[in-house]
């Protein structure tokens, strides 16, 4: 039956060769769920980007540590205040900025490492490849959070830059496997045209053929990667080894309220909701992109 209906699929004209970017954008715009996700994510990103302009208060300001601390949500403070009398809404908005920035930068680091490692392993082949893959397996066997805890406890009082680097250093494993697979496939295909390949141009062929095939998995990995890092950073900040105080990140805010979690429920609820929506939208977009690229191949 599956054979039969396939015979009757409409014979459409061959699709014009479009860039992966255009393909992805088109797919996202086509479905209602991904359009909505794009809008919501856009709002959050915009809020973070424009934080200095839209935050009602200075996120670090502690105006009245006696009278204005621990206030539940009100009109003056829609998300309440924290034990240091800081406005939680402002901190959440600045938190968007920081958490997303960390997410994007860390993912960039991961992508670079992942592509490099995978490409080298695939290109080198043989013993080098086998060894690199074993090391990769070892890294994969350590849960990412655990690895980060191990690293971050050894380096107390980390700067945000260092945090970004460490987050990036722990997130490239999956992508490198995919890249390695692509490189291997290409190497074998390349041997078929070995007659035409001259010594130096092999590298160029790899470059010219490799990158286009890599764009799709990279874009998908990037989108989903940012989501992972946002959650991870929140968790680490909650444990006290993420973003250092008094900077505002979503995880930090929750940690500030951790001692009195029932009394200061707004400190857990609102940052958490922002995390959930950011991650949800990133996931929806990532899946939509994966959909788009899989169908094309």
């Amino acid at each position: 039956m599956s054979g039969q209906t396939r015979d009757f699929a409409p014979i459409s004209s061959p699709r014009p060769r479009e860039s992966p970017l255009a393909l992805g954008v088109r797919r996202i715009l086509r479905a209602r769920s991904s359009r909505a996700a794009l809008v919501v994510l856009g709002i959050i990103v915009l809020a973070g980007a424009l934080a200095p302009l839209i935050a009602p208060y200075d996120p670090a300001a502690q105006p009245d540590i006696v009278a204005l601390k621990d206030l539940p949500p009100s009109l003056a403070h829609p998300f309440g205040t924290d034990p240091y009398s800081r406005d939680v809404l402002s901190r959440v908005i600045y938190g968007a900025r920081l958490s997303l920035l960390i997410g994007v930068l860390a993912t960039l680091v991961s992508l670079t490492l992942g592509v490099a490692y995978g490409a080298i392993a695939g290109y080198a082949g043989g013993l080098v490849d086998a060894l690199m893959m074993r090391v990769l397996d070892a890294f994969l066997s350590i849960p990412r959070l655990l690895l980060l805890i191990g690293v971050l406890v050894a380096w107390p009082r980390l700067s945000i830059a260092a945090l970004v680097l460490f987050l990036g250093f722990t997130g490239w494993f999956g992508l490198s496997r995919i890249v390695r697979g692509q490189v291997l496939a290409l190497k074998h295909a390349e041997f078929i045209t070995a007659a035409r390949a001259l010594g130096a141009s092999r590298r160029r062929i790899l470059w010219r053929h490799l990158l286009p095939n890599l764009v799709s998995p990279i874009v998908v990995a990037a989108t989903l990667g940012v989501a992972h890092v946002v959650v991870l950073e929140a968790g680490l900040s909650y444990l006290g080894i993420g973003v250092p105080q008094p900077q505002a990140s979503w995880g930090n805010i929750i940690q500030d309220g951790a001692d009195q979690v029932a009394a200061l429920w707004w400190m857990s609820l609102f940052p958490g909701l922002f995390i959930v929506f950011t991650v949800m939208t990133l996931n929806i977009l990532g899946e939509a992109l994966r959909d788009a690229y899989e169908r094309r191949s």
């Binding site: 039956m1 039969q4 209906t5 015979d7 409409p10 459409s12």
Partner: protein, 346 residues
């Protein structure tokens, strides 16, 4: 077709259309024929002519975006299959009408034993216990010529060869002694030597159990060996229907002619295979007039203007070709239009 006994299955104006984004594909476009009790009827045609879709329609196995269009009728044992409820159609499947496909490799569930899968038919339709159903399954497997059936029944599909798997599927199809077995290219995926065995088996079992067989194939050899009456399909339509001997002796429709002509014969000196030039038109876009016109060596202007009906051209022999009314045109063949107009030949 004797007019005395009512046919087992009576299909009238069957239209199965697929409503896709690219248009409506009219896979089966007004097909009518009968199948008598105990008869073996063959449907022959190339891929895409609609023969498999016809078979699937009989058992209402068409899934969206495909649909049996209203107005189609499939009469079986006094009821119209097209309008039956879900539970009633399930009652027929595997029980009164069963089907065998061409892919024995993948038609069996890899995680259940062969015996379990055959026995399942009896557990669904008869109220048998596990043991009774199993015993009957083993009997059936032995009947289809599987040696050491008791042991084989406990094995998994991947442990059996292709030919044996097809026997299993035949056993499955015959478990409830159905009135009709639809065989869709049952031997295409098998080795030539096994093909002959399977066909023999089908013929023998048919005689023993008395079921009718609807044999769907593109292979004229199979038609010659097993069927008593043949239906030729092209582009979603019946283009010729006759008793098998008559069809081979006096094919009327140019397509049937072409099919016969393209069969290579052992013993004949032939350097090139004869092919029918051109390809089947797209099912979303059947041409008006005769659908075979562009590939036909006899066509003329009438063929473009009028879609030919089924003409009576002999005893129990119909053909959808205007040559029935202007037979002398057969003496003046010309290169088919596809070749003339430079469209790529097949």
């Amino acid at each position: 077709m004797t007019a005395t006994t009512p046919p087992l299955v009576s299909i009238r104006d069957l239209r199965t259309w697929f409503h896709t984004e690219g248009g409506v594909a009219r896979a089966v476009d007004g097909v009518s024929f009968d199948i008598g009790a105990g008869e073996t009827v063959g449907i022959v045609g190339e891929s895409g002519c609609g023969k498999s879709v016809t078979a699937l329609s009989i058992l209402r196995l068409i899934q969206p975006p495909g649909r049996i269009e209203p107005g189609s009728r499939i009469e079986f044992e006094g009821r119209d299959i097209v309008t039956l409820g879900d539970e009633e159609i399930r009652d027929i499947r595997g029980n009164r009408i069963s089907m065998i496909f061409q892919e024995p490799m993948s038609a069996l569930n890899p995680v259940f034993t062969v015996g379990d899968q055959v026995a399942e038919v009896a557990r669904v339709h008869a109220d048998m216990s596990r043991k009774e159903a199993w015993n009957r399954a083993v009997e059936m497997l032995a009947l289809t010529g599987i040696p050491d059936a008791e042991t084989r029944a406990r094995q998994y599909p991947h442990q059996l060869s292709g030919g044996m798997r097809q026997r299993v599927l035949i056993a499955m199809a015959l478990m409830m002694k159905p009135a009709l077995v639809i065989a869709d290219e049952p031997t295409t995926a098998l080795d030539v030597t096994i093909q002959a065995q399977i066909l023999e088996l089908l013929v023998e079992l048919q005689k023993r159990i008395g079921t009718s067989i609807l044999m769907i194939t593109h292979d004229l050899g199979v038609i010659a060996e097993t069927t008593s009456r043949v239906i030729v399909m092209y582009a979603g339509e019946v283009v010729e229907q006759a008793d098998v001997d008559e069809l081979f002796a006096k094919p009327h429709h140019p397509y049937t002619e072409g099919l016969m002509h393209s069969m290579p014969h052992i013993g004949h000196d032939q350097e090139r295979l004869n092919v029918i030039p051109g390809t089947v038109p797209a099912p979303t876009d059947w041409p008006a007039g005769c659908r075979f016109r562009e590939r036909c060596p006899y066509s003329w202007d009438l063929c473009e203007r009028e879609h030919p009906p089924l003409y009576q051209v002999g005893v129990a022999h119909v053909s959808r070709c205007h040559l029935a009314i202007e037979p002398e045109r057969r003496n003046h063949p010309h290169p088919p239009l596809v070749v003339e107009e430079g469209v790529a030949a097949a």
